[in-house]
Amino acid sequence: MNTAVGRTYREGPLLEVKGLTISHGAIPITTSVDIVLKRGETIAIVGESGSGKSLTARAIAGILPPGMSATGAVTLDGIPLMRVSESELRKIRGFRVSMLMQDPFTMLNPLMLAGDHIDEMLRHRPEFASRAARAEEVKRRLAEVGIVDEDVARRLPFQLSGGMCQRVALAAALARDPELLIADEPSTALDVTTQAEIIKLLRRVQRERHMGLILITHNLRLAFSTCQRIYVLYAGSILELGDAAAVESQPFHPYTLGLLLSEPPVDLRVPRLPAIRGSVPRAGDVASSCAFADRCDWVKEICRTGKPPLAAREASRFTACIRQHEIQGELDALRTAAVLAAPPITRPHGETAGALVRVDLLAKTFAAKRRRPIYAVKSVSLHVMPGESVGLVGESGSGKTTLGRCLVGLETPTAGKILVNGIAAEDFGAMTKVDRALVRRTIQMVFQDPYSTLNPRHSVGRALGEALQACAGATSAATPERIASLLEEVGLSPAYAMRRPATLSGGERQRVAIARALAVKPAILVCDEPVSALDVSVQAQVLNLFRRLQVERELSYLFISHDLAVVRQITERIYVLYLGEIVEEGPTERVIENPHHPYTRRLVESIPRSALPRPPCPGDIRT
């Protein structure tokens, strides 16, 4: 707070946003958002994709992308930000409000040295007129964000890790000592362990500087664990607002509850994730009703007669649900029930004979031009039994995706053995045609990115038809009936066969992708982060589908994920992959609750937990 001297503080909140409405051309993005932030306070704006949370943040800083426009009032310490000129705003940005964005790799100028990003923020100050003085200050500022290696300042962004970039960016954002920092998903693009470090750093800096902080996130757990107050944004309007602890323990809005419930807990395996049906609507489509009406289990006529206002229910608690009084009981009951644990799946451990998939000492090296080769997978052995669901957990760069791709023949390993159904399948090119077809009918893959997992030029029916036909030995053609039954199996109506991928939501696309993989009736699916790109509410639906299919089809899974909570819901056994090697293996419950390897321990500890103590053990609640 070294430069705060001389600033005169006005009474009242630091930031007040009133009736902020953002639109892109004629398309509304948010409708009348109100936000209040006191000095030194931390608030979170939580919402799924498309809720308008990032744009709200940008509108506050006055840097909406071209084509977007905002109306309403944003008042910072008495200054009406939306009415002052751009040159005035420039004197406020950085000095009073600063912002941190999501992707650490794109936030820094790729042609500028890391240190220069901080250096350029200091040039206006006479005491830093000399280069040497600035260099000293840059060093000090970097130290504040935990960078002690002085060499970092002299590197280019592409030479730094994501976490490093984010720290440099934070130091740059704070270089003029703002009173308010808006952090837009500051940790989302980072690895789990780095995420935790960045959030910890953010909280420390906030506390030390007594700075206002707005955290924009889709992650409820993160919001609860980091912030004092929570704004729940949905399709452009705020549905609930309140103290973090209160909202977490007793949500007043069905949507908040739904979100809380669909987020898979890491510390227990629930029998079924209570998913919210459907997907997030666009703000423009719900302009004159409760935004959540279409997905709500308690919807009544009254919910659709107008946009319900955010109304106070308790001290510092607001909800936009007009039926909150009537349904609060039901909401509470569900909240309580959610913490029930399902019985852990038990299976004789250590049995490896008759494995469906067996991998022995697998290694995969990518030769890179004029650079050192990349050792993606170093030496991995694993197996999956028939009907078994196995997790493969690791951060980016751990080699988990490469491993999965090797299994389905998309990559050819450099060394090691793969046995699928007893057939040597490490080199698809060297296999006989019959063997290759057999392996392909045994093992299929589901990919991460739902938006390009389907050929945009092919209808759903055509994609599934092709998959059915690709199944060598399939005597019957890809009839509409078979396509329809595949669709039904993943919970979609046969009418979807006519649709193009572009008209489907992410969840729907992922279902079609699963149906496509199932077309050849495989015994095992390699699922590469199949839900990580989905919204929480949709993620729950797809996870439930995976669980249902496992039961109905006796499918095996090799479930690749970075998210321990997700893995916990799906798998019986997990392998922890770190830098191309397996560092720990065991039943899911045991590994998560009692990790042996230091890396696994760090991974488990990195999962954000709420500031509140968890409700006591399930037994207590039932009584």
């Binding site: 940008r58 800083a61 840097i63 992308p65 071209p66 084509g67 751009e86 705003l89 420039r90 004197k91 406020i92 940005r93 950085g94 000095f95 409000v97 600063s98 912002m99 941190l100 964005m101 999501q102 992707d103 794109t106 936030m107 820094l108 100028n109 790729p110 042609l111 500028m112 350029e120 923020m121 280019l156 592409f158 030479q159 960016a169 740059a172 954002a173 270089a175 003029r176 890179a368 650079r371 050192r372």
Partner: protein, 321 residues
């Protein structure tokens, strides 16, 4: 570290450029043989074909040797600066080229300055005023520029500003620096328009992309001055695609110069080339083509080096991995 990796980049580019020049020179050499009819005829033009002359030509161009040997001998002559004797006027090709080089160099340089200066400026203005009428005007100019052949714009400029308005001289290259600049203004503009369109297009696209980048947004969010953002962020970063396109620009200017010199009847290398083609003066065509091609290849080489100097990602790539 940095220096040596830059050297590696330069050496690698040179390693590519040398075989390229060899292949091009072979193509140019082969013109004599590609041209329909007898090679001697091509080298003789319509000169007297008495046995003495024929023998002299066959010996001069080693026409009785195997093709590759002929090429080798030709190349060694070329390297020593001997491009043969032109059919028209029976003069050394090199001395004729030397006499014509000035106009073309002046013209190309003038329009390069126009292309880069005005092109980047227009592209930047359009990008900053993205979506406004100004932007659309610049885009329209760009589309017009790539669509309108140089010779058509040249004719129009000549008749509007030379003939109707009498603002500029209408023939001759002028003598002395200012007079020459004055005479070459219209040709340089005609030449610049089509090539400028490319620069405008690239700059505008690159700038629009830069402006929407996270780091520009982040810089704005930190309250950096618009000048700082313009120069240190947007302009510098978006110049890289412009520099990568410099090869395209050079080719455009060189090829355009041919048309412009013909349109404005300027005694430059381009007009010389066309004249040689129309008169089938093969040694002269060989000479000018080789010069143009070598110029383009060497410029590309230079561009690659500049690119490596400007983009630190290349300089640092050794450190990175």
């Amino acid at each position: 570290m940095t220096g040596s990796s830059l050297m590696v980049v330069v050496m690698r580019r040179i390693a590519v450029a040398i075989p390229l020049l060899l292949v091009i020179s072979f193509g140019v050499f082969a013109l004599v043989h590609i041209a329909p009819g007898d090679p001697v005829r091509s080298l003789l033009g319509a000169r007297t074909s008495d046995p003495v002359t024929l023998a002299a030509i066959r010996a001069r161009y080693h026409l009785d040797d195997p093709l590759l040997v002929q090429y080798g001998k030709w190349l060694s002559q070329v390297i020593r600066g001997d491009l043969g004797v032109s059919i028209q006027g029976n003069q050394a090709v090199t001395s004729i080229i030397a006499g014509r080089l000035g106009v073309t160099a002046f013209l190309s340089l003038m329009s390069t300055i126009l292309v880069l200066g005005l092109g980047i400026l227009l592209g930047a203005v359009a990008a900053f005023r993205h979506g406004t009428w100004l932007d659309r005007l610049v885009v329209a100019f760009g589309v017009f520029g790539v669509s309108a052949p140089t010779f058509v714009t040249g004719i129009f400029l000549l008749y509007v500003f030379g003939v109707m308005l009498h603002w500029f001289p209408i023939f001759g290259p002028g003598s002395g620096f200012l007079d020459r600049a004055w005479h070459l203004t219209l040709p340089a503009i005609a030449l610049a328009i089509s090539v400028m369109a490319i620069v405008v297009k690239i700059t505008r696209a690159a700038m629009i992309e830069e402006l929407s980048r996270d780091y520009v947004m982040f810089a704005r969010a930190r309250g950096l001055s618009s000048r700082r953002i313009l120069f240190a962020y947007v302009l510098r970063n978006s110049l890289i695609p412009v520099i990568t396109a410099a090869g395209l620009i050079v080719v455009g200017i060189v090829a355009g110069a041919i048309y412009v010199e013909v349109t404005f009847s300027l005694p430059g290398l381009g007009a010389l080339t066309i004249d040689a083609i129309l008169k089938r003066d093969i040694p002269m065509i060989q000479g000018t083509t080789l010069l143009f091609a070598a110029f383009v290849v060497l410029t590309n080489l230079l561009v690659d080096v500049i690119y490596a100097l400007i983009d630190p990602r290349i300089r640092f790539c050794r450190v990175a991995s």
